[in-house]
Every structure is written in structure tokens, then in C-alpha cells.
């Protein structure tokens, strides 16, 4: 691959991720609306929100680290998008692999923690401490799942993993080969999205959206962009690990949206767990299921 086409891919992959992410946000809000018997937002609502937030006249920044934190939050996901192979584009997925991806996916939370720290708002500090605790909780099953998949396919290269599944057909997909790990992965994915049972760190009524409490204008806009990337990254990673990756864009997008629809549909039916209950739940059930799946795999 020459340098020019690589550069084009590095630009295109986050852009595609952003557009698909906007549609995913729309789907999430529409599902929430349907479950609550509402009409839901118009088609371009996620775009309107982001443009409006970036177009704010006055911007409140609490200092350099506040700005940099948002850059880290968005930048971490942009880096992650270039390592997720999509149909026709691989970017630097060949060089990255699962382990680097797992590291890069933690950068946004840490960046957010830095940025929120400088806001010096107690609600924000409580929120981000809860968010990092939640990360500690869902990362244990997440790493187990990643390790299991890499072990099964004998590689941590996402392109190899996707190609192996596509060659073997549906019977060779991760979800048919390792159903227990797929289940644990779905749990971890739900925690990663921070949706309803696991959204104690946002808690709008109690701590005023926690990490987002001091974000306005472009900072909030950055977080809205981050949300698009977050939904895309989680869904595409799951599709690549367990559902055979993308042979073409149609099946790839259909699989990604279907994967995302599962946690999102469940989300709006439940109240939330407290932080310690969340950790207990995550370290008990998905971890146990994941370890059991590993045992079957290695046996």
C-alpha cells in the first residue's frame, strides 16, 4: 500500500465512522422514543445538535487541560477508527491489532478525566470517579473476551480474525464458535456504552450529568462527536470479533446496527445500578461466563 492511499484511508475511516455514528445516535434516540411511545427526534437531529453546539457564540473554557481533555477524548476514538478494518479499507489495522486497540479505547475516558478535573466542579469529579470505576469493572470481561478471541484465531490482528471468519462461513463466526465469550462480550459492550443500567456516572438528576456538568459549546459538541465514535467503535469491534467482520458495506452496517440495537433496547427498560453493584455484577457474571468460555476454548 502506498502512502497516498494510506493517507486517504486514514482520513476517510474516521469520517465514515462519524457519519455512521450519527445514524447510530439517531437509532438510539428513536428506539428510546418508541419504547416510551413517543415520536422521537427528526432524522437530522444528531447533526443539528452538534452544529448548534459548535456554533455557540460564547464559549466557556476552564483552562488548557479542559480543552486538551476533550481533544484526547475525541482523538482517542479517531485513532481507534483507523485500526478497525471496514469493507475496502484497513488503514493501520495491520500494524495495530487488538492489544493496541484496547489501550487506545481507554484514552477517551482518561482524557475526559483530565478535562473534568480542571473544571473543579464536585459533580464532575464524582461523575468521572464513577466513570473510571465503571471502566475498571467492564474492562476485566472485555480483556478476557479479547484474549479468548485472539487465542482462538491464533492472532491479534483484526484483519486476520475477520478473514478467518469470512472464509469459514457462519459456522466459523466467533459467535458460533465461542457463544459464551460472545455473551460476555455483549455484557462488556453494554457497560462500555454507559447506557441505562450502567449509567450511574451520568445520573442527570443526581449529579447533573457528572463529567459533562461544566461542558458547554464546543466542549459539549466534542463530547457529542465522541458519542458517535463510541457507538461506532463498540459495535464495529463486536462485529469484527464475533460476527465475521464486513464482507460488504450492506451486511457490515446491518450487523453493526443490529449489535447496537440489543444493548440500546435493553437500556431504556431498566433503572440503574449503583457503582459498587455495577462492579460486583461485572466482575461476577460476564467475567465468570468469559472465564468459562475460555476454559472450553482451551480444553
Amino acid at each position: 500500500m502506498n502512502v497516498a492511499s494510506l493517507l486517504v484511508e486514514l482520513v476517510l475511516m474516521p469520517l465514515v465512522a462519524f457519519v455512521v455514528g450519527l445514524a447510530m445516535v439517531l437509532m438510539m434516540r428513536r428506539i428510546a422514543a418508541r419504547l416510551q411511545r413517543r415520536v422521537g427526534p427528526p432524522f437530522f437531529q444528531p447533526l443539528f445538535d452538534i452544529v448548534k453546539l459548535y456554533g455557540k457564540h460564547t464559549q466557556t473554557s476552564h483552562g488548557l487541560v479542559h480543552d486538551l481533555g476533550i481533544v484526547m477524548a475525541v482523538g482517542g476514538y479517531i485513532a481507534a477508527e483507523t485500526m478497525l478494518p471496514v469493507p475496502g479499507m484497513t488503514g493501520i489495522a495491520d500494524k495495530g491489532g487488538l492489544v493496541v486497540l484496547a489501550y487506545v479505547m481507554m484514552v477517551p475516558s482518561l482524557g475526559l478525566a483530565l478535562g473534568v478535573g480542571q473544571c473543579a466542579n464536585p459533580n464532575g469529579s464524582i461523575g468521572i470517579s464513577r466513570a473510571l470505576t465503571a471502566m475498571l469493572a467492564y474492562d476485566v470481561p472485555f480483556i478476557i473476551v479479547i484474549f479468548g478471541v485472539a487465542f482462538h484465531f491464533g492472532s491479534s490482528n483484526l484483519i486476520t480474525i475477520a478473514a478467518a471468519q469470512q472464509a469459514a462461513g457462519i459456522a466459523g463466526w466467533g459467535v458460533s464458535q465461542m457463544p459464551l465469550l460472545a455473551l460476555a462480550g455483549l455484557f462488556a459492550l453494554h457497560g462500555m456504552l454507559g447506557k441505562q443500567p450502567f449509567e450511574i456516572y451520568v445520573a442527570p438528576a443526581e449529579i447533573a450529568t457528572g463529567p459533562m456538568v461544566e461542558m458547554s459549546g464546543k466542549h459539549m459538541g466534542g463530547l457529542f462527536v465522541m458519542q458517535c465514535f463510541q457507538l461506532y467503535t463498540a459495535a464495529v469491534l463486536y462485529v469484527t470479533l464475533f460476527l465475521g467482520g464486513g464482507e460488504n458495506w450492506l451486511s457490515f452496517l446491518a450487523k453493526s446496527f443490529a449489535v447496537l440495537a440489543v444493548p440500546v433496547s435493553l437500556a431504556y427498560l431498566f433503572p440503574r445500578y449503583r457503582t459498587e453493584d455495577l462492579v460486583r455484577l461485572m466482575w461476577k457474571w460476564p467475567t465468570m461466563i468469559g472465564l468459562l468460555g475460555l476454559a472450553f476454548l482451551m480444553h
Binding site: R29, G40, V51, K52, K56, H57, T58, T60, T209
Partner: protein
């Protein structure tokens, strides 16, 4: 004033022609304004009985989200400050603090008669009568109380005003800060101050008007205490207790 014709009508200046005669010069601004009107985050400061009309307006019966309005919980994120009912003097201080923390463009909606003219609290010594004296209100939804249909209608009217570019009272707060501060001082006393530097913001964002400074802002300077960061010690809260 006895007749309607005596009320002065403020003439709005004709719209400035597009830059350099290019019809596409304002396309970007128009797009942002359109997005602004289609995405409104609402901070509901529920002071009085009008608050009870908001849940049906937000949830499945009337669903505000279909016109792009959704509730937000902090002033930093919000575009609309919704004041739903009578405003006591004590509450008004909090409303002003909240309003000044919001990012512009910001809009204030007064719901119920109480925000228009005091309503049934007209004779109360502890109630601010006209919200418009203390904050630049963009829209009143009158009624005691207005039904959710009226609330939705009002929000749609605000949306149309924003799209047409006629709803920019937030600039008025910067440009005539002296007037609003004067009314606030009349109610709260001469030593009233907020942590937000409205005058500095007006200068920074080019919204400084001839009436931004005046006798009331001079009085503000006399009484202004510099805002100092809280002392950072591990048991700062407990020290006072022990002494």
C-alpha cells in the same frame, strides 16, 4: 399610557445586504441559525405550579423531542431557560446566576401569568413581578396555567423566531447591562454581585453597547469583592466546626 398608539414601536433596522453582493455569502450563517432553531436544550427552572405542565409536554403525550427540544440539567449545556411560575426575590437571585452561566445564544421563556406581571402574587412583598425587568425574556407563554398545547405552541414560536433571526434578546443583556443591573440592585441591595463577569464578556465578544456601563455598574465596582478561590485543605470544612 391611555391608547395603544402612544406605545413606542421599536423600529428594527433593515437586514444588512449579503457581503459583497454575493447571495451565497451568508449560507453558513443561515445553516447555523437553522440548526440553532432545530436543536434547543432546555433548562427548566421550575419555580411554581407551571412545572406540572412540563412532564406531559415532554413525554409521550406531546413529545417535545420531535421538534428538537430536550431537557438538559446544567446551565452550561442549555439554550433555553424556562421559568415556570412566580419568582420570589430569593429565587430570582438563583435564576440570574443560572442565566449568566449559560452560553450564548440563550433564550428565556416565562411561563404562566406570574412571570408576566406577578399574576395572583401581585400584592406579595416577596415576589418579583415582571421577569422582563431582570432578564431579557424572549417569549411569554401566558395562562394560569398554560396547557401543554400552549407550551408546545410557544416553543414552536420561539423556534420560528430563532430561524428568522429575530430572537436575540441575549445581546440586549450585554448591551443594556446597566438597566438590568439597576433593577436587580433595586431588589437585592446595592452590594449585589454575581460571579460572572458580564462586562468583560461583553467586551470580549464584541457586544459592548453604549448602555453596558452606567451608574449601576459604577456602584457594582464600589462594592465588588474579588472572587477568591476556596482554600484547598483536606479538612477545610471541619476547621470551622472545631473552632
Amino acid at each position: 399610557m391611555t391608547s395603544l398608539s402612544d406605545i413606542p414601536v421599536i423600529q428594527t433596522p433593515p437586514e444588512a445586504p449579503a457581503r459583497g453582493g454575493n447571495p451565497l455569502a451568508n449560507v453558513f450563517d443561515d445553516f447555523i441559525r437553522y440548526c440553532r432553531s432545530r436543536s434547543l436544550f432546555m433548562l427548566h427552572y421550575c419555580t411554581g405550579c407551571g412545572a406540572i405542565e412540563l412532564p406531559p409536554a415532554m413525554t409521550s403525550r406531546f413529545d417535545m423531542e420531535r421538534i428538537g427540544i430536550q431537557p438538559m440539567v446544567t446551565p452550561r449545556q442549555a439554550d433555553i431557560l424556562l421559568v415556570t411560575g412566580y419568582v420570589s426575590v430569593k429565587t430570582l437571585k438563583r435564576i440570574i446566576l443560572t442565566y449568566e452561566q449559560m452560553a450564548s445564544p440563550k433564550y428565556v421563556i416565562g411561563i404562566c401569568s406570574c412571570t408576566v406581571n406577578g399574576g395572583m402574587y401581585w400584592q406579595s412583598y416577596a415576589t418579583a413581578k415582571k421577569l422582563n425587568d431582570y432578564l431579557p425574556v424572549d417569549l411569554y407563554i401566558a395562562g394560569c396555567m398554560p396547557r401543554p398545547e400552549a407550551v408546545i405552541e410557544g416553543l414552536k414560536a420561539l423556534r420560528d423566531n430563532i430561524e428568522a433571526g429575530t430572537s436575540d434578546n441575549w445581546k440586549d443583556y450585554y448591551q443594556r447591562y446597566d438597566h438590568y443591573l439597576g433593577n436587580q440592585q433595586r431588589l437585592f441591595g446595592a452590594d449585589w454581585q454575581t460571579p460572572t463577569e458580564v462586562i468583560a464578556e461583553a467586551k470580549h465578544y464584541g457586544l459592548f453597547g453604549p448602555d453596558t456601563l452606567g451608574e449601576h455598574t459604577r456602584r457594582l465596582e464600589d462594592h465588588r469583592k474579588p472572587l477568591e478561590p476556596l482554600r484547598m485543605t483536606l479538612n477545610a470544612g471541619r476547621l470551622e466546626h472545631m473552632e
